[in-house]
């Protein structure tokens, strides 16, 4: 049996050269010091600093990893475990070949798989040659344009082998930014007036808090916790308090946050700032998924613009720190995101304690999805009833549906909460694509389960789908047709969860892997799968493991014909 052994001679030679472990290479250390400049070496910047190395060298070789550890007073193990957790860091050890400088990432999640991602991957793998790495990746948040390939940081919509090859050949590797509402335009339209009032105290925090409560706005990241109530809870804990904004939009099928950021970033920034001031947060951390390179450019510029041109010259706004994810779905889970902001592996925390009480850096933390604060200005200026006046089938409010799959008009559709799937397809999506017959849908991304066409008349909102073993989550709706297999899509989802599990708890780490294996069997052992599923739901630490069995269970429940 193969074992790792090192001969005494090898050991001797190593020990003669240097102390135990990896010696710090002084030349590499100087390079790292130059790269980091006078930026802080504090631990929570680890991921930021790893990005700098990855950006500079297109990979992270062990000598830089060790030098960075030394520079940050961390152990190589601490840096390595973080670097190896995130997809976007390529650690290259001595003797290993670095990856090619250019990577083409092809999404293979549900919508893209339906759109032919795998044949695209095959074509690219054979066609692009050795100088380009083709990587299969989970959802990149552009599902309405499936299939997606990202060349460097340049997303190619409706990608084909030809269009990708052309981008590679022409070195088109940057994201392009389309026009959006600038700070001037936003201000011209009355923007930042409300923030100014809040800053200068002419609008009371209590009145804002009340409006938020009255609006019925619920967290739009997926969990649906009433926003106003959250503000009140967090503000009740001792200062200093912090705010963390989640733009790690990774749920397959979801792209609404990117949509709004690319159109009207200041509406988000104003809402965020009002939230922070109302709750009394001393600093704001914005966590943006690394896949959104264009949004990062926009936010970097617009945050700086806001900070340089504050609405009030008298009262200071809390600082905003933009933090860059590094390719990890789990970091969309709020406590995993907080860990990641702290520069650690994105492993969800056990709760209690909840983030509202013990959050970022151990402080009470107001955590919000980007879209949740995007609506704050409108709710305050138009009144809470504006928001709650929308709705259908006895539900209230608005939902931004990210729609992809076999419909004619995929994209973000702002629709009344409670709308049914059939209504959405008919009224907003221009019906099904030609040649496709409506067969079923994911109401809330890969984790929200699947429902058949026969159940397309259920009002879609928080709570309404729970009794069917589904949830609306971030309102990422993926429509599939008679040309798709629900079973196959469920396998895709489970493999996605297996890949994206943080690896912390047994039911999820081992459970998703065992479930994926069982689901690839021709004949499902539904009894064992169900037993495993119930334990994953009951005993996993976070929503990932708890929700992972949803599509699988839905296939058993709603698409039994496919299992015969």
């Amino acid at each position: 049996m193969a074992v790792i052994k090192i001969s005494p001679d090898q050991i001797k030679r190593k020990k003669r050269r240097g102390p135990k472990g990896h010696a710090v290479d002084l030349a590499a250390l100087e390079e790292i010091q130059a790269l980091l400049g006078d930026e802080s070496r504090q631990r929570d910047l680890l991921i930021e600093h790893l990005h700098k190395i990855q950006d500079q060298y297109q990979h992270i070789s062990s000598k830089y990893l060790v030098a960075l550890a030394h520079e940050m007073k961390l152990s190589p193990a601490e840096v390595f475990e973080v670097a190896s957790f995130y997809h976007h860091f390529d650690v290259v050890k001595e003797g290993q070949t670095p990856p090619p400088a250019l990577t083409v990432r092809v999404c293979e999640s549900v919508s893209c798989e339906m759109a032919g991602a795998h044949s695209l991957i095959n074509a690219l793998e054979s066609g692009l040659g050795d100088d380009v790495r083709v990587q299969k990746v989970p959802c990149v948040g552009r599902c309405q344009h499936a299939p997606i390939a990202v060349v460097g940081q340049n997303p190619i919509h409706q990608a084909t082998a030809e269009s990708v090859t052309a981008a590679v050949d022409n070195n088109q590797i940057k994201d392009t930014i389309t026009d959006y509402i600038s700070m001037d335009d936003y201000k011209a339209d009355g923007g930042y007036q409300t923030l100014k009032k809040v800053l200068e105290g002419s609008m009371s925090t209590e009145s804002i808090m009340k409006k938020m409560e009255d609006s019925g706005l619920r967290g739009l990241g997926g969990a649906g916790f009433p926003a106003g109530r959250k503000w009140r809870i967090v503000s009740g804990f001792d200062a200093p308090r912090l705010m963390a904004v989640n733009i790690d939009e990774g749920e397959p099928g979801t792209f609404k946050d990117r949509h709004y950021l690319e159109i009207d970033p200041h509406r988000f920034l104003e809402g965020m700032m009002i939230a922070a001031l109302t709750v009394g947060c001393d600093a704001i951390y914005v966590y943006l998924r690394d896949e959104y390179a264009g949004c990062r450019q926009i936010l970097t510029k617009e945050i700086a613009d806001l900070q340089n041109n504050p609405p009030s010259s008298i009262y200071q706004m809390p600082p905003i720190y933009l933090r860059r994810g590094a390719g990890a779905y789990i970091c969309g889970e709020e406590s995993a995101m907080v860990e990641s902001i702290e520069g650690k592996r994105g492993m969800p925390r056990l709760r209690p304690p909840f983030l509202a009480e013990v959050g970022l850096f151990g402080r009470p933390t107001l955590e919000h999805n980007m879209e949740s604060v995007y609506w704050v200005r409108d709710i305050i200026e138009k009144g809470p009833e504006w928001f709650s006046s929308h709705g259908r089938h006895e539900r209230k409010g608005l939902r931004s549906f990210s729609i992809s799959g076999r419909v004619n008009k995929p994209g973000v559709h702002l629709a009344p909460a409670g709308i049914t799937m059939r209504e959405l397809i008919d009224e907003y999506c221009g019906g099904m694509q030609e040649g496709h017959e409506f067969y079923g849908y994911f109401p809330g991304g890969a984790s929200g389960g699947m429902l058949p066409e026969s159940m397309a008349d259920i009002p879609m909102d928080f709570d309404t789908l729970n009794k069917y073993g589904c949830f609306i989550g971030s309102a990422a709706v993926i429509v599939f047709s008679n040309q798709d297999s629900a079973k196959q899509l469920a396998v895709n989802a489970m493999k996605f969860f297996e890949e994206e599990s943080c690896g912390q708890c047994t039911p999820c780490r081992v459970g998703t892997a065992k479930a994926a294996t069982l689901m690839e069997e021709k004949q499902w052992n539904t009894e064992l799968l169900e037993e495993l599923a119930s334990v994953m739901v009951d005993a996993s630490i976070c929503g990932l493991g708890q929700a992972a069995p949803n599509p699988m269970r839905c296939v058993v429940k709603y698409f039994p014909d496919e299992l015969k």
Partner: protein
């Protein structure tokens, strides 16, 4: 009267567990409450003593009203909570977790690496059947490390090893890399363990529930005949250890709980025991063959038979004692000298000094304390009236600020260092002052890499700031000290601006550090031999003491002075009088009252003149004043400075008796060698650096005809007409109690029962005093004294011919002269070669690559060693351990002495270095 059980003082919370009304104690988790009440809940990632992580989910329970199950290791009861630990739903998850983990075990069966797998235990208890899932693809074994076998095919990713490594020992080697089902435990950046920065403390092995991490070579699979609760034979921390013994051999060890170490151990304590099973152990008395002349060369054990012949104990003892007696009776009592050992027990050390004082008839008795903390003890006695530490190491958790100076605790007091690192993690600020940046620097808020030899200037500069800025504690100074004004006047010449160019630390840093130390609620100073081993070692210590006195940072929790003791019993050996100027309990031999007391106790006339110290003995031999010596368990032919000189002296002795367990470098010069017992082969008490007197217990018997040291000492003594009748260590201990007020109240039975008692313990049933000087000092005036120290240079400064600074010390794996550790196959494999640590740029300037040989030469000698690149070493200096007989660092060192303490200047001499050279021959 016994105190109330702890729980009676704690608040309780009423809740329901499995239908019964029960009470949880405040702070208790559900699993702890359940355990206390006799209810078992399966668990794997949870281990008492480690932070609960809640990742395995084997301990999930049902809490009424909650959507999902909750990990009982991470949840506490709230009033009225209804908990089901064994409901159908809870059991279903518990069993599934176990089944999932078992499905990924080797062959989906029981752990092949340990009979004590906790997974196997719970699988059996819960009747988990054959796994119904496919196994994962398994990682390959990592058998690279000499001490630890890594079989990750048995890993359940519970991260107990990681928490042990990162949060408990804080060695930061183990990480949890990758994600999802690819998650794996790694060393550094997924390196083979032997190539990683692992220091082999073995805490991970002790933490692992499934045998994925085990002692190497499958010893963990053997079933021990017995276990023995004892301590560690290495450093002054004095860890408590359980030895697992089979067929008169130690199989493996485990840390025990106690204030010294809380289950923790280091590589030496955990894996370094096997030197006692080395076939090179001495098993027969040996007498030098007639006509074989002594030379200054070290004796190769292969030539043992040519030089020595076996003898019976009777013959050897007669010969040994006869030779000593003849010199005593013909050349006078002062023609004999004895070197005892800080490795022996208190009882052995006590009898050894008694043998010299009553059998030889002089005070010519010393031991290696002279080479380590003699100067610290002199300064402490002079200033505070007691040579003992003021606070235990564990008190670092109470300190807001720690100054660690001239000490490399992660190497020399590894388990003590873990508590310092833990303190830092909890907010204590560590100020590291050292010419070399050592690994604890990672945890320090301030690192002062000052120029070697400039301690006094730097410390005076810090004290200047304290007085300049009025940060001194006037109330304390007034109440508890004397000669302060003298100190104030003296410090006027040491402004930080003035000392900065001397010590190389800028004035602002000195000011910052001074403020931090002086104004914190509690500040503690820990120091090592970087302070003591200078010709100004006593001055260095005087400065540290003055620093504590002027700020009142002494005599309360977290505030004090702690010279970290090197040997496991250097504290005890000094306490019992194994030093030439004092009787037991530091009672000066010059004081007639003390003379009378001991003459009465021992029934003989005693010499009123202090005897020779270690280095003075060497000079006295060469000066033809000392002709015979008895060396027990010490190795001056490796440990003393300027070895050429030392070896010349030993080769010229008329009669040398060596009592040891190996043919040490010193034993090669002997006329008779008495094979003795190792630590594990006898009972006795040992006093650690905290003043804890701890019980060492016999685990195995000595090999062959080797004998226990107490027996040998008594046999020699009685041949010198002492008439001793001790029946064992307890008898000796009881006599010590009569001689030493500090332990008068300590009974053998109580140490047996409690394992560890702290002195002063003057009356029976006293609790002992971990913190002393709480109310003044045991000086004549009851006050602590300020003793000013002027900055002076080392004896030998670098010059154009010898431009570099040579500093000696120890390495983690090798103890002192290596007589124990280099005979341990495990430790020897981890550090096999003589290395000298040098800054990589200095290596470059020699025109060689790291790992190549260099020749180091001083005015006294030269050695050849491998140049190890170490960025922590100050440029222009080098560091070497003195354990390698093929490259004996003490050939280089300077025997210049501190005038007060007679400690040699091991920490500074001038050398030159050149590329290349031929490595010496290792002689054992």
């Amino acid at each position: 009267m016994a105190a109330n059980p702890e729980f009676m003082n704690k608040a309780t919370i009423g809740f329901t567990m499995n239908g019964e009304e029960v009470s949880a104690l405040e702070g208790e988790t559900l699993i702890q409450t359940a355990k206390r009440l006799g209810t078992e809940i399966p668990h794997l990632c949870y281990k008492e003593g480690l932070r609960a992580d809640g990742n395995c989910r084997a301990c999930v329970v049902e809490i009424e009203g909650e959507r999902t199950l909750a990990p009982s290791c991470c949840r506490s009861a709230t009033a009225g909570m209804k908990v089901q630990t064994a409901s159908e739903r809870a059991i279903k998850s518990q069993k599934m977790v176990l089944e999932l983990l078992k499905s990924d075990m080797p062959k989906q069966g029981e752990s092949p690496y340990t009979p004590n797998s906790e997974l196997d235990l719970w699988v059996k208890k819960l009747n988990v059947g054959e796994p119904r899932f496919e196994a994962r693809s398994q990682p390959i074994a990592d058998l690279s490390h000499p001490a630890i076998a890594v079989n990750m095919d048995a890993c359940i990713q519970c991260t107990r090893c990681l928490r042990a490594c990162r949060e408990e020992q804080m060695n930061d080697v183990i990480g949890y890399a990758n994600r999802g089902s690819h998650s794996e435990i790694v060393f550094d950046i997924a390196d083979p363990m032997a190539a990683s920065s692992c220091v082999a403390c073995g805490e991970c092995v002790q933490a692992c529930p499934t045998g994925a991490l085990m002692p190497a070579n499958d010893v963990g699979l053997e079933i021990a005949d017995k276990t023995v609760d004892s301590t560690c034979p290495y450093c002054g921390v004095g860890c408590l250890i359980k030895y697992h013994v089979k067929d008169n051999k130690i199989l493996y060890t485990e840390g025990r709980d106690g204030d010294t170490n809380h289950f923790r151990l280091c590589v030496k304590g955990r894996y370094g025991f096997n030197y006692i099973h080395n076939p090179l152990r001495l098993t027969k008395p040996l007498i030098r063959r007639k006509g074989v002349a002594k030379t200054t060369e070290l004796l190769d054990p292969n030539d043992l038979d040519k030089v020595f012949r076996e003898a019976t104990w009777e013959e050897a003892l007669d010969f040994a004692a006869g030779g000593l007696k003849k010199i005593r009776d013909t050349q006078g009592k002062k023609a004999l000298a004895g070197l005892g050992s800080a490795k022996g027990s208190n009882e052995e050390a006590y009898l050894f000094q008694k043998l010299v004082r009553t059998g030889f008839g002089s005070n010519n008795v010393d031991h290696c304390t002279r080479l380590c903390h003699a100067s610290s003890v002199v300064a402490l006695l002079e200033c505070l009236g007691s040579g003992a530490v003021s606070n235990p190491v564990s008190d670092v958790s109470e300190a807001e600020v720690l100054i660690i100076i001239g000490s490399n605790p992660t190497v020399n007091h590894p388990v003590g260092a873990t508590f310092m690192k833990n303190a830092a993690a909890n907010g204590t600020k560590i100020i590291l002052m050292d010419p070399n940046i050592t690994s604890i620097a990672k945890y320090a808020s301030h690192v002062l890499q000052f120029r070697p030899d400039t301690d006094v200037a730097m410390l005076n500069g810090i004290m200047y700031v304290i007085l300049d800025e009025g940060l001194q504690n006037d109330v304390y100074i007034k109440k508890n000290t004397e000669d302060f004004e003298q100190m104030r006047a003296h410090l006027k010449n040491y402004s930080p601006e003035k000392v900065a160019p001397i010590c190389g630390i800028d004035a602002n840093t000195l000011r910052e550090v001074a403020r931090l130390y002086a104004t914190s609620k509690s500040s503690m100073i820990l120091w090592g031999m970087g302070i003591s081993q200078h010709i100004h070692g006593t001055d260095n210590a005087r400065c540290l003491i003055a620093l504590a006195l002027m700020t009142g940072q002494i005599g309360k929790p977290g505030s004090g002075l702690h010279p970290l003791r090197g040997q496991n019993n250097v504290q005890g050996a000094s306490d019992v009088g194994l030093i030439p100027m004092v009787f037991p309990d530091y009672q000066p031999v010059t004081d007639p009252e003390n003379q009378a007391k001991f003459e009465k106790l021992w029934g003989v006339d005693l010499d009123p003149v202090p005897g020779l110290t270690t280095v003075e003995m060497i000079h006295a031999i060469l000066d033809k004043e000392v002709f015979g010596m008895f060396v027990q368990g010490e190795n001056p032919a490796m440990s003393d400075p300027n070895q050429n000189h030392v070896r010349e002296a030993f080769s010229s002795l008329e009669h040398l008796v060596v009592q040891d367990i190996f043919l040490t470098e010193t034993a090669g010069f002997a006329d008779v060698i008495l094979p003795a017992s190792a630590f594990y082969e006898k009972n006795g008490t040992f006093s650690n650096t905290d003043r804890r007197v701890q019980m060492g217990r016999q685990a195995v018997t000595p090999p062959g005809d080797a004998k226990q040291d107490l027996w040998i000492l008594q046999e020699i003594a009685n041949r010198l007409d002492c008439g001793w009748t001790y029946n064992g260590p307890e008898d000796v201990f009881n006599e010590m109690r009569q001689a030493m007020g500090s332990i008068a109240g300590m009974t053998w039975d109580r140490i047996e029962k409690e394992d560890s008692l702290t002195y002063p313990l003057e009356n029976i049933d006293d609790p002992g005093q971990p913190i002393i000087f709480t109310d003044g000092f045991p000086t004549d005036s009851g006050r602590g004294r300020f003793v000013p120290a002027e900055y002076i240079h080392a004896d030998e400064m670098p010059d154009s011919e010898y431009p570099l600074i040579f500093i000696t010390g120890r390495q983690l794996e090798h103890w002192h002269t290596g007589s124990m550790t280099r005979h341990s196959p495990t430790l020897d494999a981890i550090e096999p070669d003589p290395i000298v640590a040098i800054h990589p740029e200095d290596i470059k300037s020699l025109g060689i690559e790291a790992g190549e040989l260099i020749t180091i030469e001083s005015r006294r000698g030269k050695v050849v060693a491998y140049a190890r690149a170490d960025i922590g070493i100050q440029k222009g200096s080098m560091f070497m351990a003195f354990c390698y007989n093929e490259a004996s660092a003490n050939l280089i060192t300077n025997e210049a002495l501190d005038p007060s303490a007679k400690i040699p200047e091991f920490k500074f001499c001038a050398v030159k270095a050149s590329a290349g050279g031929e490595i010496g021959v290792r002689i054992n």
